[in-house]
Symmetry: D3
Subunit: 292 residues, 6 copies
């Protein structure tokens, strides 16, 4: 099989997704690993050229921690809950928008694509309100802990995404929201991806992480679950099979599919070109969540 035939084999998939919007979430680890982000960026550009409108949402936890450390800011943990005070918020905003997001945009440019960095503040793309304080029991006493500048998304106004996406730009979104008073709030990137996908009527949401998908047994790679209905996914959340960082990914996937996104995928960002493999070949990778 020569190379032209291989391209031709992708044709039915290209046709299927032509004109669709696809939201891709990549985590902080992927975003700051040069090789991984290079592979993702090339895939995004190819998607644009075959008529797909990709929207990227990125995280950036590890990088935020690194900069905080350098600046001598200690993480505030109250009874196991991380509190985002004003200084932490400022670092998060600088790192996510001015470092991680800006670097991805630059990479897309240097590979010949066109991108634009956005966050919740740009054209009020997404607004949030402060998350309610959490009840915790410290030494037998119930207390309310104010998590600080952590937000829950209230409203997404996708106009800015549409304006730039229509004109050939790839939006690169940092998960910093704005509230009524113009304050910045830290929001979960998985949730942002899910909300954006629902609001732009995306066809797919793809969560890129550093494992192969949802595993029945976290210690056993071979226990990967290929396909789940949202009902089954919810059960795995309830019974604790889905753990830790996979929880918001699974929740956001379920919510997106419930609001009309056709399919959610959880795939491994570290497999080269896993995006293209997932979209354009028969070899499905990762876990796919569909309505039923």
């Amino acid at each position: 099989m020569n190379s032209a035939e291989l391209l031709i084999e992708a044709l039915p998939y290209i046709r299927k997704f032509h004109g669709s919007k696809i939201v891709i979430k990549c985590g902080g680890h992927a975003a700051i690993n040069d090789e991984t982000i290079d592979s993702i960026v090339k895939d995004l550009i190819l998607l644009r050229y075959v008529g797909i409108q990709p929207v990227l949402v990125h995280g950036g936890g590890p990088e935020i921690s690194r900069v905080m450390e350098k600046m001598g800011i200690k993480p505030k943990i109250v009874n196991g809950l991380r509190v985002t005070d004003e200084k932490t918020m400022e670092v998060a905003r600088m790192v996510l928008i001015g470092d991680v997001g800006a670097k991805i945009v630059s990479k897309i440019s240097s590979h010949g694509g066109k991108a634009i960095g956005l966050s919740g503040k740009d054209g009020k793309l997404f607004t949030a309100c402060k998350k309610e304080s959490q009840k915790v029991t410290i030494e037998g006493v119930e207390k309310n802990i104010d998590l600080g500048y952590v937000g829950e998304i209230e409203k997404v106004d996708p106009e800015m995404i549409e304006i730039v996406s229509e004109r050939g730009y790839i939006p690169v979104i940092s998960p910093i929201a704005i509230d009524d008073q113009g304050n910045s709030l830290n929001v979960n990137a998985d949730t942002v991806a899910g909300e954006v996908a629902s609001n732009i009527e995306a066809r797919k949401i793809i969560m890129m992480t550093n494992v192969d998908g949802i595993l029945r047994d976290r210690e056993e790679d071979k226990s990967l679950i290929s396909k789940l209905s949202i009902e089954e996914a919810q059960k795995l959340l309830n019974d604790g099979t889905v753990k830790r960082g996979m929880i918001p990914k699974t929740k956001a996937s379920i919510k997106a599919v419930r609001s009309g996104v056709k399919k959610a995928h959880i795939i491994n960002a570290e497999r080269p070109h896993s995006l293209i493999l997932e979209l354009f070949t028969d070899e499905g990778v990762g876990t796919m969540i569909t309505e039923s």
Copy 2:
């Protein structure tokens, strides 16, 4: 190398040609050979999906002969020159527009693309005037032979191509022109392709034939010339190296490049997906003619 990597390798070529118009000429043999035309049609659809606007011009000589024979019409040959009388013209029009063109359009549809059959009459796409009578010497006497309904292109009005191409349709053009009085005239398909390419400001013209390109020695496949300037190509025309069916292809290529088309290619339609190979991979095939 997996298929995703291959697609990524094609990215620089896709980027380069994105938004370009490319005119492809395929001959009568290719047009009526199911396997060959299937391969071409799939390539055309892939081109559309990656943002290229292909325009196909087809020939149909062998099929015309086959139908004429069935209808008991004998070819008129005067001193080696083929004369197109009214009946022959009618058959040519029926076969080119109603058979060859219509079949290609159907094939594109059944492979999931959108096409439209056109000829010179549709929106006066191209008009012609009767070719001058040819001087020949018969038994020592010089005579003028009227070639009948054979035309030379006078004017191309590309509006119809642009209207449909803009909206995602692949124009499939049969080489039947119209004259002032509304008569049909048979025109050379290579010439049509060249004139259309010049008039729609195509980036490339690709002549698909049944040999690998221009050969220095017609008996020797290995004598393929990979690259020619228009000056060199003209020389090969003048010194007789370029012969027979390759003559109009070479002439039309030279003319197209002179009018602003960047590159002309002569490639072998019988190599599967030679169009994609030529456009999207490093392995160049056939002969390329450029300005210098």
Copy 3:
């Protein structure tokens, strides 16, 4: 009354139909008779200039028979039913698209209009499925006869008509449909006209034939019925007053009016400029079918 006054008299009718779409069906006899088609073509061009969007659907039975005969193909008749085998289908396609349709388009061009030849394959304008085999009783035994490449329209996608009509072109439609596999199927031209009229939200459908309209007594011209409701028309179909070629015209008219076309007319193509007379003067000609 001078000529200017006569033009002014047409004003209320021109105003009434300005901006409307009107589907005109002309039969095979009309299409190949030079004088008749000239008169129709001039009328179509005038309609365009006064702001009406005409769409022409043509037949071509007699011409198909003539070419089949020349090619030595014998019609297959099984128990009185005509069977369209592959060869017959090919001839039908060549003649309808490449001969009759192409000629009409040329005529419109040479009279100064702009036209484009279309069939079901172009942009999947209309798709069909094979007609069910027909039960017939041969020598007392009931048999299923496969009618071959004869289709029933399944879906009309009027986009192509709209694209070209908006830009000033007159679509000339040949009744060849395409099926799922890309095969050509012969469909009844009256039915095509009716389905197209419903799908483009035409204001009128005008069936041009070689008699003056629906007659109460086929032998008696004076028995012409000027006006029918669809209910009355259905009754005439049921009681056998409407016969032979008039049956599909009447059926298609009824169906079109049921789907929202305001009026259907059956008029005589052989009366010069009967189209204009019907549309722009008080002297109604032929039979008009309305909802009630």
Copy 4:
């Protein structure tokens, strides 16, 4: 010849003028004569329906005089020159815009067309400056007579005409200009028509008056001159053959043709439908002025 054939005979003319802008000037007599204006209005509506964009400029001298008389305002004549004082100006504006113009617009509406009344003030369609005072010799003494609110056109801004004409409205223009300070100025309607024609790139200007055209001998109808070059027309102006009210018409015609209007016509408004006769039939009426 029946009415359908007549319409068909008009086809070449309709084609020729389709999409053109034509400026028509009708004088005060025509504008207030019910029968004449009815005929003109019907002609204008027909023009719109066949794709021509007519623009009407009207005069109104006789009506102004009638109203002035009723209001007891006496015309000021100094040494044979009419002076427009403020009161006269007010009456002129009221009559031209509020009476003559408004009536024509109403007539077009009641005949089924769409019109809009405009004057120089609307969107600063045309601005003027006061005409210089005229030197006259009274009783052997040379004096400067200030003509009052009489203007010479300085600038035409055709935007408003284009906005409404594009949307299907017929502009009806009253010859009242506006100056820098917002004052109204009376301007010659023939001049307005000529300037508007030049500025909207009209194809034709048609001056409708109450004689058949330019006559060699004013007493002799048969001395009508059918065709003049602008050079010849200028000569007739210079040698005094063209007299009185015909002078501004001829001057405006010459100027319009010089600025690119293809043809100017001077025709008789009292011949019913002379507009249509001039434009759509072979029977030319009146005098035509062309570049050479």
Copy 5:
């Protein structure tokens, strides 16, 4: 507080009304008083520049009377009802369209804005039918009095307003309607303003008059009512608190608010820049009528 700060104070109001349509009615007294109309005109231009689309409807009673008097036409009063005969109608049309309307348009032009004069006839902006004859009792006998050319609005077609308003022009509307036969009819300007406001989906209607608003006690300026619901306003109409010229203003305001206009204001035209004060400052002036 410096001038820049004052401008900044207007910002929230500008933001609120940006992109809205606002209908302003000014009465005949205002329209012909140079100072008042100058103030209104400047306000209108400012509104356009800050992104509001103002539409002006004017009256003109006093001016009509003045001209009638000059022309020696006596008002016809039958039993206290004013009858508009044909002559009166002609004067009203001339004065309203050709004098008052034209002057306002000129003023807007000379202050640097762009305006266009319209009335019901222009593009059939509003059509009316004759008002029914009124029953009156004269000397104990009940009689029907035909009020002549007085109309009630039947239909508003706001297309012309939208065409010109979109392009930056301020429509200046004279209250002359057109009926089926093309006759002019005098209509109440307050009613025109109300109907126009409802039909263009205006945000506000502002009635400018020569008192400060609705007073509880006509003799006492301090009895001004600042805010009324439509219910309360209706009660004041019913119990006779609202009198004379304020009646149609109040009725039109109520009707407009009922059809979706958010607020109606009745303000004093004689207070300089009362329009701007009402819209852009906290100092509300006049009476505001809202739904509840």
Copy 6:
């Protein structure tokens, strides 16, 4: 003088600048001073509402120093020249894009405007190449000092500014450029403002700083120069009157005016609403530089 009159007084200025693009540069001090930036942001929003398209370019030097200090990064100074190594570049990018720019965008949102943060990387808004190394003499030896990641602007592609500005957004631009390889380069914000102004065909460029303008004598506020031609400004640069931070502002102003920007202004950001005062009132503030 009440507030309505004040707005009316601003009318001629609003009219003059309506539809213009104006580039405003504010320095780092202004950008991080809450009161100053609040005043600027309100002014920008008012400009948008009156139809002006403002584009803001900000600096951020003091903030970069503050964060560097916190992160323990020491400025590298070689012979008085500041060197931007990779770490410094990263901090600069984070602070300018993720802190200063993001905060201004948030402020605009919270005051009811719509903004978007951009830098050179977004849609390749501006690209730069590394500044040549500088020759310095250290201890008598001439040496080349590489300034590191400091760039000179090569190309501005204003498409992204136009896309968002057209749709009502205020672009807030951080002075970080991108080079061929996708590296970030620090560029002078004054230069960015000047280049952007030239490339978007701005009408004005306004440099906001913390002094009142160009002073003849830096110690003497009263020596403010109100108006300069570019020639005079050049002379003041040459003779050293213009010093330090004023140098790039003056150079960028001269260059912008040379490329077609009508006027450049240098004004004091610390005077409240100095932008509005400069644009909309007679009280000119600061120094204005014009072509002659």
